[in-house]
Symmetry: C2
Subunit: 521 residues, 2 copies
């Protein structure tokens, strides 16, 4: 049937065509069925929604992204034909039934995901099936490879490519802003792409955006990295492994991140830029994504083995994640803290130790000796700051950026201790909730600044943390929320009686970035 | 934030509010987040979609059913407030993690489903989790009870209430049109509600609709059943266990029907009308929902045990389902076949045997002796026809209805044998696909009429089946499809060499409705 194209300006990750009731009846389709819509230049498969008024008889409404993909002119005649379900739904069911999938079956699923051929319902069944039944490493490698093949890949003018990744789950983890300049200053190529916050207070891209642009296509990313040796770009604009973003859209409302999908999500983006040497940070402990050492070791082993299957040298660091890294949480606050360290500030030590530990692992993979010490030397010498400013300039930011110039939220509120004692715990989840309630990550100045960390002594009435917000309304929201939460607990005990905190662990082929240290920052 | 109500005429099972980009930013919500929309008289929780043009700044677009539920006036001021996820998402995740759910957790999930509080993504995660991890009988009983409590219930002026149900999966199963009149003619109360086809060629309601109305509310259903002793109504209009329809919406595109959900779906609708004695037909065999005797027995046991927990006497019949029941598949064709039998026609015997077997089980539950013989006597005496006409009249149909008056599709095409031999198999799936391609169940006259059944001899060139359609275009579609399918296979073997078909089985507390018989109809 031929219908006239009508643009409907609604965002929908599901490619959707809106048909008039009578036309739908004639074509023989119902809601959630599929039609192929096409004109002379292009075609797309969309799900069907039905209406009596949004489009008239003889019209086909095409929503947001499907319109961009198809690129019709308004009122252009469009062929609309009923079409069957994608074959990959059977493979999704096979996984739901606990079976191992073949390379071809996995490729079919990923192809259908990245081509927007699966509805939210079908995509959720895939993610839930994967969450419950898992994938073995062979399947996970195939999944990774399929995700690479359905997106853009970048080849740089030199090799090898080094890269760094944190699986996240620990707030305040702004170390990428320090690791990348150190590694690039050492002469290695580290074209780092990062994500934005999904459920956290700030992703690396949210932080970098405070002082530079982050949205570059593949070509521009290549030229930034080739000219400076590094980059601090947003992965979302490069179209690396685009299936991932579509999968995250259904994982997010459910708050799940299936193990195999997490592995493939990380590794596909590294593989797509040709990474050969990769260091992965796995924050571990209560309140992170990886609550126990056993699970952290399993993750590390899987990353290393998966790397081998994909021709990538991977080393993992299991890091202490039971409280935020450093003291700042939120885009501008974290940017300020990281830049201050690049400028020579010696605190918070947890940020410096972790960043130098990670950078050091990469330097050692490149054959340098005493990597962490070398990394610290590059940081302290000011070479990392110089490289950082080069990268900022290449990304359209002010190369004379100073930490003191970063604007943080104007509206602040202190939370004070109601007793004397020692900080017993700082709950990641509550800190993130406070920062988000204050407007983070959208309001750049919003967030939380911790004045005390685990093990620190605090007096009655002394500020434990400060909430920052860009508007009074958001600040009030965060204050309101703080009454329901218990982000910092204090106990009147002597420090020695606090449970011993194992901040460091070395597993096979991993390096310990943070030497044993007393609690604190 | 207060916005002006604007009706958007699109069907969406997800309650949806459309916000202008700027308003969404101000409220602090993204796509797939939730807002509560309310005015003085009512309120509802909806998912968020975002637009720049479908609604203007200051307006909130409300889709189809959410508009009906909220009932605002156009341009009425509506409060729109960001709201958090329903708590039941945590319980869905608990089931995804393989844990047993408490009564309260199950009730919370069902409450949120029936209140439209769950998105497609969340609902699919529930169904997929249930499909993979299952529920024990205690959970299933709680699920059933929760589904009853979130819908309408009907209390009749007398008791006990008898009922009958087929789990489906075998085409041509029009026996309900015969069972209900027999049982009602015997003086029992059988207020039967049925479903429409989801993936089959015709549900009982699709068939009845050929000659009577089926859409009644609870009050009207009660008066029909109280006055005639029976009913042949559509369950969908009565609002019994409404969560079920919402769950089916996500099961359908995935082609799954989790065991516990299937049990709860059947039993909740029976419990909601106060059923005390229930017979369940479980068609078994290749090409049905229940492929093996082992599985059929497990289903039967679960139905019986679940009935006990719900205070219902349940008996199950495992019936032969490897080929269609009778010869007609499709609404009008099945109506004609069933009414002819009520009029005294003695074929197809498979329909008569099965209907009398099922009706007989119900009569015996009521204390009558030799139930099947008694049922056959009521059928042959014309009393069942008389009762059928009473019910048809009560449901707004022509009480003088005759099988000869039923209009079947005008456009027909014979499929003929290409060799001599015996019919070796008739594939349910292919027959259903042909009937649906021909327009069934929407086109009432569309369907398939079998001339040969399993074990019948057929000559080269002799018609094996006829496809019926209401339009030439649909007939062509079905003919086209028939070239790709193999609905009937013929082998040049003598009948005795065909594999022995066990058509009958008795399990604990079940009755065998179809005595051993040779293959054929």
């Amino acid at each position: 049937m031929q219908l006239k194209a009508k643009y409907i300006d609604m965002e929908s990750a599901e490619y959707t065509a809106v048909l008039h009731t009578e036309d739908a009846l004639e074509i023989g389709v119902r809601e959630q069925d599929r039609v192929r819509i096409k004109h002379e230049r292009s075609s797309a498969v969309t799900l069907v929604q039905i209406t009596d008024t949004v489009v008239g008889k003889g019209e086909v409404g095409i929503l947001g992204k499907a319109w961009e993909e198809l690129g019709p002119d308004p009122d252009e005649p469009i062929d609309v034909v009923a079409t069957s379900k994608p074959e990959s739904i059977e493979f999704i069911k096979k996984k739901m039934n606990g079976k191992e999938l073949t390379t071809e079956e996995i490729r079919a699923i990923v192809n259908d995901i990245s081509s927007h051929n699966l509805s939210n319902i079908e995509l959720t069944a895939y993610v839930t099936g994967l969450y419950i039944n898992g994938m073995n490493l062979r399947e996970t490698a195939d999944l990774t490879q399929a995700m690479v093949e359905t997106g853009e890949t970048i080849k740089f003018d030199r090799s090898p490519v080094y890269d760094f990744h944190s699986v996240g789950g620990c707030p305040g983890n702004k170390i990428t802003l320090i690791v990348v300049p150190i590694v690039a200053a050492a002469g290695l190529l580290i074209p780092k792409t990062s994500s934005r916050a999904i459920s956290s207070a700030a992703g690396t891209s949210d932080i970098v955006e405070v002082f530079a642009r982050v949205d570059f296509d593949g070509n521009k990313l290549r030229s930034i990295a080739e000219s400076t040796g590094g980059s601090l770009a947003w992965g979302g604009s490069v179209n690396l492994a685009p299936a991932d973003d579509l999968i995250i859209r259904v994982e997010y409302p459910l708050g799940i991140d299936p193990h195999a999908q997490l592995l493939a999500s990380v590794m596909s983006k590294k593989k797509a830029v040709g990474t050969e040497y990769l260091v992965i940070d796995i924050p571990m402990g209560a309140g992170t994504k990886v609550p126990t050492m056993e699970k952290a070791q399993a993750y590390a082993k899987d990353f290393v083995d998966l790397g081998e299957r994909l021709g990538m040298h991977v080393e993992c660091a299991i890091t202490y994640g039971e409280q935020p890294v450093g003291r700042a949480i939120g885009p501008a606050l974290e940017a300020r803290e990281a830049i201050a360290i690049l400028e020579g500030e010696l605190h918070p030590s947890s940020v410096i130790e972790k960043a130098c530990g990670m950078a050091g692992m990469l330097l050692e993979m490149a054959g340098m000796k005493r990597g962490e010490a070398k990394a610290r030397e590059i940081l302290m010498s000011g070479k990392a700051l110089e490289k950082f400013r080069e990268i900022v300039a290449a990304q359209g930011g002010d190369p004379n950026i100073r930490s003191a110039d970063i604007k943080v939220g104007k509206f602040t509120h202190d939370i004070t201790a109601t007793m004397c004692g020692y900080v017993n715990s700082i709950r990641n989840k509550d800190i993130v909730a406070l920062a988000r309630a204050a407007g983070s990550p959208r309001d750049k100045g919003a967030g939380v600044l911790l004045h005390k960390k685990r093990g620190n002594r605090v007096d009655d009435g002394e500020p434990v943390l400060t909430i920052y917000a860009d508007t009074q309304a958001k600040l009030d929201q965060a204050i309101e929320l703080s009454r329901k939460l218990n982000p910092v607990t204090i106990e009147g005990m002597i420090l020695a009686k606090l449970p011993y905190i194992n901040r460091t662990t070395v597993i096979e082929r991993t390096f310990c970035p943070v030497p044993e240290a007393p609690p604190g920052d």
